[in-house]
């Protein structure tokens, strides 16, 4: 167990307790032990001899915790192959966390739902989950009341999460919208929130190395995503020039978000 409020910046070794298939190409690795962190925070996951990457903590239990991923690259593929008893390094927790206000709506697009999942665990809120199709939906048993949207209509309503969100914002007085998902989706969510004068908090993703605000790889405008984020409020998002437009690849070169997404897979 990590000590409450203390962050470890050198990998601590945890044993894998189980690996669950959550959907098509979607897995959760569970680790033995208790881990303390707040909803929206992330850890750096080290697979010795493979790589180390930031992952949202998606399950927080008494004697285990987990992280969920889509197998897109080498690292996530290797993560999906770990076995019970394997040793994995974890450092963190890193970043800020969601504010957890009542009367809120939580939006999770694709595997982005994993970044808001412990937020959903801890509060009553309307949850909207979007995915490309029925096979890519996450946590349908864990969160039974989610409003589901799919791109192809194979489950829930056909269309983007913003359609469902607008319906909710029309009907229900909403204090906050929390979201995580593809950045284009989050940009649309922010625009809707602006239209309905509702505050929004979005969890951003940028290429990271250190996780603790030193290397400068994950800058968006003049913000250090790993340390000043990953969660930013409407106020901050509305002034960002790079949000929804540009990101930096591993070399530090600035590219369009489309190019960045293609590189990330």
């Amino acid at each position: 167990m990590n000590k409450c409020g203390l962050r470890n910046d050198i990998p601590q070794i945890y044993e894998v307790s189980r690996v669950e298939k959550e959907g098509k190409d979607l897995f959760t690795v569970f680790l033995k032990g208790q881990f303390l962190c707040k909803p929206g925070q992330f850890v750096m996951v080290w697979l010795p001899r493979v790589d180390e990457k930031p992952m949202a903590v998606s399950y927080l239990g008494k004697d285990e915790f987990g992280f969920t991923f889509h197998t897109l690259g080498t690292f996530t593929q290797e993560c999906s192959k770990v076995k019970k008893g394997d040793k994995i390094g974890i450092r963190g927790p890193y970043g800020n966390w969601f504010s957890q206000e009542k009367n809120s709506v939580i939006v999770g697009g694709g595997v982005g739902l994993s970044s808001v999942s412990t937020l959903i665990d801890g509060m009553k809120a309307t949850v909207i989950h979007g995915a490309r199709d029925k096979d890519h939906l996450l946590y349908t048993k864990r969160f039974k009341d989610m409003i589901i949207c799919t791109d192809d209509g194979s489950a829930g309503t056909k269309g983007f999460v913003t359609l469902a969100l607008e319906e909710v914002l029309e009907k229900k007085r909403t204090k906050k919208v929390y979201c995580c998902g593809p950045e284009i989706m989050m940009k649309k969510v922010l625009e809707l929130c602006n239209k309905y004068h509702v505050d929004c908090e979005a969890s951003l993703e940028r290429y990271m190395k250190c996780g603790f605000g030193v290397c400068g790889a994950c800058m968006i405008d003049d913000k250090v995503v790993c340390k000043e984020g990953p969660i930013f409020s409407s106020k901050e998002l509305n002034t960002m020039k790079e949000f929804g437009e540009y990101a930096r690849i591993k070399t530090g070169r600035k590219v369009t978000l489309q190019e960045y997404s293609a590189w990330r897979g």
């Binding site: 603790f212 030193v214 070399t251």
Partner: protein, 300 residues
């Protein structure tokens, strides 16, 4: 009280952001300036775009920090498009460069100079890179690189950044001075390693990396002290400075200014303000009015 000049650069205080910490983008350099740095050094750039090493590339703990980032960078050509110029921020910007060959040092220097930085720093001293091995411990190579960079930098002052992984750092600094260097930055990180004993694996993907932070400071102080004895050009004393007292010590060893990197790991964006306010408090208490009163004091 803290203002000083370094190779013609007017600094409101002697703290300089060290290369490789936050300075990947112009926005982050500007931010560190707003947070109180006297000057900022950008992440080192070379003639080509580089991915650097796989992760883990760094980790920290009390007193020690290890990294083997592997000099990722967008390359000087992309940087020219990205930065446009470097003399339009409120803080002086130092451009850090390297190359794999002596000619490439010249090529990158010329391009960096076109961005008009306040100074060009030459990184020949990254401890875990193949390119720097033939250079960093060799007086002859240091002379050639210095001459090459000077020839291509016009009037912009040039600082040569040295490695502590040598037995003759003062002679190397002297070689740079003889070849026309305007300044010495000392030191880069010390070659180091950490093994995770649960898995039996080195933590850094590159296995070997560089040590920075408080554990490096006594080595840095010794290097600055030795260099000060042998050269007349100013020294940017770098290595493990996190407090005002640390900075005062570095200046007493002979540093004209103080490089600060890993302190951002320990103290976040407040790192520079903490150092400068503690320096001021110390100077007031000891009735020291300017830094020149204590510079090199340890040599008296």
């Amino acid at each position: 009280m803290l203002s000083t000049t370094l190779c013609g650069m007017k600094l409101r205080n002697p703290t300089i952001l060290a290369s490789g910490i936050l300075g990947v983008t112009k926005e982050s350099a500007a931010k560190v300036g707003r947070m109180g740095a006297g000057a900022v050094t950008l992440k080192s750039l070379c003639h080509e775009e580089r991915k650097g090493n796989p992760n883990p590339t760094m980790f920290g703990r009390k007193g020690q920090f290890l990294n083997a980032v592997g000099l990722p960078g967008q390359g000087i050509d992309n940087a020219i498009d990205d930065f446009k110029k470097l003399n339009d921020l409120d803080v002086p910007v130092i451009g850090s460069i390297f190359g794999y060959t002596i000619e490439q040092f010249g090529e990158v220097a010329k391009k960096m100079a076109s961005l008009k930085p306040a100074m060009i720093e030459v990184d020949i001293s990254c401890p875990h890179m193949e390119y720097s091995k033939p250079f960093y411990a060799d007086e002859d190579s240091i002379e050639k690189i210095t001459k090459m960079v000077k020839k291509n930098s016009g009037k912009i002052p040039v600082s040569i950044k040295l490695s502590p992984n040598v037995h003759n750092i003062a002679d190397l600094a002297r070689a740079a001075e003889k070849a026309g260097a305007d300044c010495i930055t000392a030191i880069n990180t010390a070659s180091a390693m950490k093994i995770n004993i649960e898995t039996g694996k080195p933590i850094l993907a590159n296995r070997i990396g560089g040590l920075s932070g408080p554990a490096l400071r006594p080595i840095a102080v010794r290097c600055v002290y030795e260099i000060y004895e042998k050269v007349k050009i100013p020294i940017i004393g770098t290595g493990g400075v996190t407090t005002g007292e640390d900075a005062i010590e570095m200046i007493m060893a002979g540093a004209a200014a103080v490089g600060v990197g890993t302190a951002f790991y320990y103290n976040g964006l407040e790192a520079m303000k903490k150092i400068t306010s503690e320096m001021e408090a110390w100077m007031k208490k000891h009735k020291v009015k300017t830094l020149s009163e204590i510079r090199g004091k340890a040599h008296e």
